[in-house]
């Protein structure tokens, strides 16, 4: 292991000034609105993805505050049952489908290409399409909610409550269609990441040198590819039951409500790990900079990631223990649910070992990582408790579960994410976030989170079920509920301070150097913020910590941007082999175009029209076909050349 003192902020540029200027011209988007809408730059798209996800996070957070305000007092009449059920459904749907999964994928779409030393994602236009589809789907949900057509059967939409008989109107249709949108964008992002990582790594970055965050995103992406089709099937079946009159879930015609639960949770449990695994990747990739050593146990952590991914598909039934499953089946899923604690434990131990043997420094990002340990491990412990069938019979669908998964998701995903924002903010914006304000925001967030959710464990044990819009006086729940409500306001102050800090630092933060933390991965090799072409010279990788093993004046890839390609205004990325990352050739990166946005609008229009008329499908298909035909219309063949 080499100490980080040997780092070099910016690698020596091999291209001369004229060539760099050419690169700049070829890669940079046109100014103005058209350039904004037509961009296929993964950095710009990922940034607006992240900003949108945080925007919806804030909206869903306001929903949470409304719920907590309603529950502050027994038999409070602030929100009626009808509004309350929409609020908690939209809160859950937003947090899971519109915030947590997309924001992690978006951070991946920003960081992965930079971490592996390439200039763009594999299919940049598809990437742009993914964002537009995501945005339209998210707006569909929230606009519907503001029009009192928000889904109202819970984020899990159990039938028959969400079926045609007990959920009339468009509310559950909006839910099913929102899911369709987010499935499309999630699958697109997954494909982007897998192909980018397997084919575009910088030379020398063999698979055993890939940064752990990148690995985490690859594992997550494969999980998305296997989990999302299940919920796509389920939501399509629900939509058919509701709109066309099929009977998949209709008991009277031989349908089965439990079928829905199996399909939903076969997706729904991996979903939790789809959110959590990227967060573990963020931790593994921040710790080297924060402890000034490589992460302890790279192979162990990697095996834990892959193991978690496989196991996460084998424990969905633990959401259904109370449905009355046979004992042998229950035992199997208990075993699987208990077992998945092992790889998570492995990661926790490796990180503690990293801190133990490193030289930690207490940046704001480190605060959030320590907060992660404090909170997430509680969530892990309660998770072990509810893996047991008998204990789950008592705790299931009570406020204990609300406490459990907020500890897991806020601790396990939001805290690492907020830490990551502090950590990578200088890279993305070129400005440092205020550490002082960051600490204050952290302590509000940390205290608020615990004051809100810790009392909920007791509420659940004392018998308070989930998803109730009110409760009676005299059941012993008043004090705990009021405490939780106060905590939620403290948490909100923390989040507001965080947002304020981000906005203020974006406008007037201290300028950041290329590598302010002395970190080890390649994104710190380029300037902050990175230029549109990311790297003038694609670096060559010699180890797991390329920034720490870099020699002065060492080689970089040449010949990628030959004079001839620059003259033709072509953008080039380097293609390398899957396992060893040997240069395979170069690939012309597509130019910016507005077609992905038009295709996104067409898909969005078609899916929304389907809510109201079956004609949405045929007419929408034709509308979608037009931009796709233009998109695929053959241009003159791209130049093929060998990389020297």
């Amino acid at each position: 292991m080499t100490s980080p003192e040997l780092t070099h902020p910016v690698p020596p540029t091999r291209l001369d000034d004229e060539e760099v200027a050419n690169l700049e011209e070829v890669w940079t988007d046109r100014p103005g609105l058209y350039g904004f809408l037509a961009t296929v730059d993964h950095k710009r798209i990922a940034t607006r993805y992240i900003v949108s996800a945080f925007f919806f996070f804030a909206l869903a957070g306001v929903g949470a505050l409304m719920m907590r305000t309603q529950l502050a007092l027994p038999e409070n009449r602030l929100l009626g049952p009808d509004f309350y059920r929409q609020v908690f459904t939209v809160h859950g749907t937003t947090m899971m489908f519109i915030f947590a999964v997309p924001v992690m994928q978006a951070v991946g779409l920003y960081l992965v290409p930079l971490m592996i030393g390439t200039r763009n994602v594999a299919f940049p236009r598809l990437n742009a399409l993914g964002f537009w589809v995501y945005l339209i789907g998210s707006l569909l949900l929230w606009v519907s909610f503001f029009m009192n057509t928000g889904p109202d059967a819970g984020w899990f939409s159990y039938v028959p409550l969400a079926g045609p008989e007990y959920g009339p109107g468009k509310r559950s249709d909006v839910w099913a269609q929102t899911i369709t949108f987010t499935e499309i964008s999630a699958i697109i992002s997954a494909i982007e990441i897998i192909v980018t990582v397997f084919k575009q790594r910088a030379p020398g970055m063999t698979l055993n040198r890939v940064p752990l965050f990148v690995w985490a995103m690859v594992v997550t992406s494969f999980m998305v590819l296997f989990a999302m089709p299940t919920v796509a099937t389920a939501s399509a079946m629900l939509a058919l039951d509701r709109l066309v009159g099929t009977h998949f879930f209709n008991v009277a015609e031989g349908g089965d409500p439990l079928l829905w639960q199996h399909l939903f949770w076969f997706f729904g449990h991996p979903e939790v790990y789809i959110i959590f695994i990227p967060a573990t990747g963020l931790i593994s990739s921040m710790l080297p900079a924060l402890t000034r050593r490589e992460v302890f146990g790279y192979p162990l952590i990697l095996m834990a990631l892959v193991g978690t991914a496989f196991m996460s598909f084998g424990l969905w039934v633990h959401h259904m223990f109370a449905a009355g499953i046979p004992m042998l089946g229950g035992s199997f899923f208990t075993a699987a649910s208990v077992m998945i604690a092992i790889p998570t434990g492995v990661q926790i131990f490796c990180w503690i070992a990293t801190i133990w043997t490193g030289r930690p420094r207490l940046t704001v990002a480190m605060h959030y990582l320590l907060g992660f340990f404090f909170i997430f491990v509680i969530g892990g412990m309660t998770g072990v408790m509810i893996a047991s069938v008998p204990l789950d019979w008592q705790l299931h669908d009570s406020f204990f579960i609300v406490a459990h998964f907020h500890y897991v998701l806020i601790g396990g995903a939001v805290f690492p994410l907020l830490g990551a924002v502090h950590h990578w903010f200088p890279k993305v914006t070129g400005r440092m976030m205020s550490e002082k304000l960051g600490r204050i925001a952290f302590w509000f967030t940390f205290a608020g989170m615990n004051i809100t959710f810790f009392p909920m464990h007791f509420l659940g044990i004392y018998g308070m079920p989930r998803r109730v819009y009110t409760y009676l006086d005299g059941l012993g729940w008043n004090g705990l509920n009021l405490t939780a409500t106060i905590g939620s306001y403290i948490l909100a102050v923390g989040v507001l301070l965080f947002v304020f800090n981000a906005v203020r630092s974006r406008l007037a933060g201290a300028p950041a150097s290329a590598d302010p933390w002395g970190a080890d991965t390649l994104e710190w090799a380029t300037s902050s913020p990175p230029p549109s072409y990311a790297f003038a010279n694609i670096p060559i990788v010699h180890g797991r910590s390329p920034m720490w093993t870099r020699e002065p004046g060492e080689g970089a890839v040449t010949g990628l941007d030959s004079k001839e390609s620059l003259d033709e205004q072509q953008r080039m990325t380097l293609i390398t082999s899957v396992i060893d990352a040997r240069p395979d050739g170069r690939h012309k990166d597509p130019n910016p175009t507005i077609l992905p946005m038009l295709a996104g609008l067409a898909i969005g229009g078609a899916l929304i029209a389907c809510l109201f008329t079956p004609w949405g499908l045929p007419i929408g298909s034709v509308l979608v076909l037009i931009p796709l035909l233009l998109w695929g219309y053959p241009h003159k063949p791209a130049a093929e050349a060998e990389v020297e």
């Binding site: 409500p257 050593r293 109370a322 075993a335 604690a341 320590l370 340990f373 072990v384 819009y469």
Partner: protein
């Protein structure tokens, strides 16, 4: 988890406490390790031994595996003990969930001794009780935490489970699966009482309502006219009162309404005032409930409530 009155809940509680303490101890150990890792003094020329670190990590993983395995085994034994209840001489009760109340049907080999009631279940202490679960609309979940964990009531999917109360008590249960608008106000009362008391209650519940044939006192005449209000207004469309012409099963059976502790599925105590408030304006108490508001004159209301209060 904390106040077990029944065999099943006691078994779960027996698994709960050691689980809680062991996991809390592990949590504290992890936090201490983390704090030490952060705060320990570092020598300038410290030689870090990756091998020694690996041993510690390996030991921690091994410990995790052992503890989780032990936990899994105790979970298996608990689950089997819960299922392995003595089933001789059991009481069979079919509980059906409806938006937003509970239909309760006691079965008996003698047809005349079958009993239908609602929202309040009596069980004899010490005897096993078989609960058959079913739902008439959406999914509900039956949960009396002092006696047992939850069991979902799923339409089209009748299933059964057993429980046994080991000491007497009155318990509040609440629907635990989101079932629509008034999920929050779908509660029930379970009374565990000694066998003799249970039998007396059961026999009383079997009897039909008695409307005084002739009104001798003013009270009798109130009850009689209350009965007339009941069978001529909307009430009769949904409710049954055995012994009268009211025989619909859309809403709860009210034959012995006055004997129940709560009204509106555990939402209000069964007092005269609450009952009157509920009859006149159910939507004010449970917005979205399927019971319509009733426009009654004060005289009609007073008579009706007197009648309902006579249904002991």
């Amino acid at each position: 988890m904390t106040d077990a009155f029944g065999r099943q809940a006691a078994l779960i509680e027996r698994l709960w406490w050691p689980t809680l303490w062991v996991l809390t101890a592990i949590y504290i150990a992890v936090m201490i390790a983390l704090a030490y890792a952060m705060l320990r003094r570092r020598h300038v020329d410290e030689v870090k031994s990756e091998v020694r670190t690996a041993r510690w990590v390996g030991a921690a993983i091994a410990g995790t595996v052992v503890i989780l395995f032990a936990y899994f085994i105790s979970d298996l034994f608990t689950a089997r003990a819960i299922a392995g209840i003595e089933r001789k001489d059991g009481v069979t009760i079919e509980v059906t969930g409806l938006q937003w109340w509970w239909r309760v049907e006691y079965s008996d080999s003698v047809p005349e001794r079958r009993l239908t009631t609602a929202n309040e279940i009596h069980i004899p202490v010490g005897r096993p009780v078989r609960i058959i679960t079913s739902s008439a609309d959406v999914i509900h979940s039956f949960w009396i935490r002092e006696l047992h964990g939850k069991r979902d009531l799923i339409p089209g999917d009748k299933s059964e489970f057993w429980l046994r109360a080991d000491s007497a008590g009155v318990f509040r249960g609440q629907c635990a699966e989101f079932c629509g608008l008034e999920h929050a106000k779908m509660a029930l009362v379970v009374v565990a009482e000694p066998e003799a008391q249970f039998q007396a209650w059961y026999d009383r519940q079997l009897s039909a309502a008695r409307v005084p044939p002739v009104a001798v006192t003013r009270a009798d005449s109130l009850i009689r006219s209350g009965h007339d209000v009941f069978v001529t207004k909307a009430c009769v469309m949904c409710h049954t009162i055995r012994g009268t012409t009211a025989g619909s099963s859309i809403g709860p059976d009210l034959t012995h309404l006055a004997s129940r502790r709560m009204i509106a599925a555990g939402t209000r105590t069964n007092t005269r005032g609450n009952l009157a408030g509920w009859v006149v304006d159910p939507q004010g108490i449970k917005p979205g409930a399927l019971m319509p508001p009733n426009n009654l004159t004060p005289a009609e209301l007073e008579a009706l409530i007197s009648f309902l209060e006579s249904l002991k």
